[in-house]
Symmetry: C2
Amino acid sequence: MVMSPAQDTPTAMIDRVASLLQVLDGQHHCTLAQISRQTRVPRSSAHRILQRLVDLGWVERHGFNYSLGIRMFELGVRVVHRDQVHGAALPVMHALYRSTGLTAYLSVLQSTDILHIERVGGWPERAAGWHLGGRQPAVHCAAGRALIARLDEALWPELAVLQPPTSRAICGPTALRRELYRVRDRGGVAIDNEGCVPGTIAVAAPVGPSGAGINAALTLCGPAPAVQTDKAMAAVHAAAMNIWQAAAGVPRRRGQRALATTA
Amino acid sequence: MVMSPAQDTPTAMIDRVASLLQVLDGQHHCTLAQISRQTRVPRSSAHRILQRLVDLGWVERHGFNYSLGIRMFELGVRVVHRDQVHGAALPVMHALYRSTGLTAYLSVLQSTDILHIERVGGWPERAAGWHLGGRQPAVHCAAGRALIARLDEALWPELAVLQPPTSRAICGPTALRRELYRVRDRGGVAIDNEGCVPGTIAVAAPVGPSGAGINAALTLCGPAPAVQTDKAMAAVHAAAMNIWQAAAGVPRRRGQRALATTA
């Protein structure tokens, strides 16, 4: 196959590299033939690009199989570990996990998804989208609803088209709006009671007040029988406030108490 | 500036992208002028490449500043979270952290460095190289010595050229060899007593026996007064064994006890 000049531009080249990495992102191991087929990049070009990516550590090769390389991990974690909110959240999340046994998540709103950028604890054990770096539809999880409820109502999304993940999930735009008003009534705390994963309760609060420019939420979650919702609400609300103050460099007054939730 | 044909090859283009990301890896925020200067990529080319990387989410732009983007994080965590040893280690590390209060690390040997691919807990709080994705010279940390001690002696590195990080660090090739023999005598468990960070004790064991093809070590570490070395040695040895068995799919015999350490 002869490449057209358009395929030789820098942008086209970057797109080729991106499409190769995209394939390796979707599958653990791939052969050159699979990569070439899925990216429609000719085998010889794909081989040349992969060879360079192997040299850079972005891709690893074991026999005939290629996979993402450890250098991608090193670059990737840097993105989050430089973030001031993440730095402020990590000790708070460790303390919450040790004291409550519940799993703590720090998550950000990315378009219509929630993306988990930190997780301390192991619950839920094997549910799609709950791992570090995992994504979930924002309307279907507590962190997402805590962040959506802060937005102007004109920006509240419609829910009708989304497949509810469990029989207890919020279904349809009316139920969603009602739930978002409830979040506001609770002072910003959102609760998901087995709507996302059967047997799991999650309680989330946004980090910092609306308008503070922070787009993150803190979640505590665990198996339904282990989660005392009132205590979890108070804990997550106070912790989110502490994270925001630490990230923003707000000095804490001595004896200052966390804002009480209004629910 | 007119690019020579050599700069137009796919490999040269990948190297340009890599060098741009490398600059953003080293600094949190960079302007186009800084990136162009540091990479020696002409400003117009750098701008075009960065624009495409922004579209892909690999780079983020805030005003005049560029930084690594959230897509790099998503790709990066996948590298580690697909790893079987990591999957087996995570619940064990959570349990260790909850029961001992000590911070648990899972680390791999990368050439002469130890690279931390998982961390549960917050100790040490602010020491270079101890964060997730951080690197440390292998000879100077417990995880590194636990993995080096398993190697054939011909591969044991010389230590003389490395700057000891603290006054209690192992200094010189003779002390290192003596320490590596001590690790072997302890059944593979390495101890670092304030040699890496003042006030910090770390205890590490390799995951699985030599020859199992796993290049990872488990570490427990904490502030010196809080670490009971004997208990930490037994805990880390047993936990490393459990991780290896879970990763390798070895069924555990009922009532099976962890191998005792020989120190």
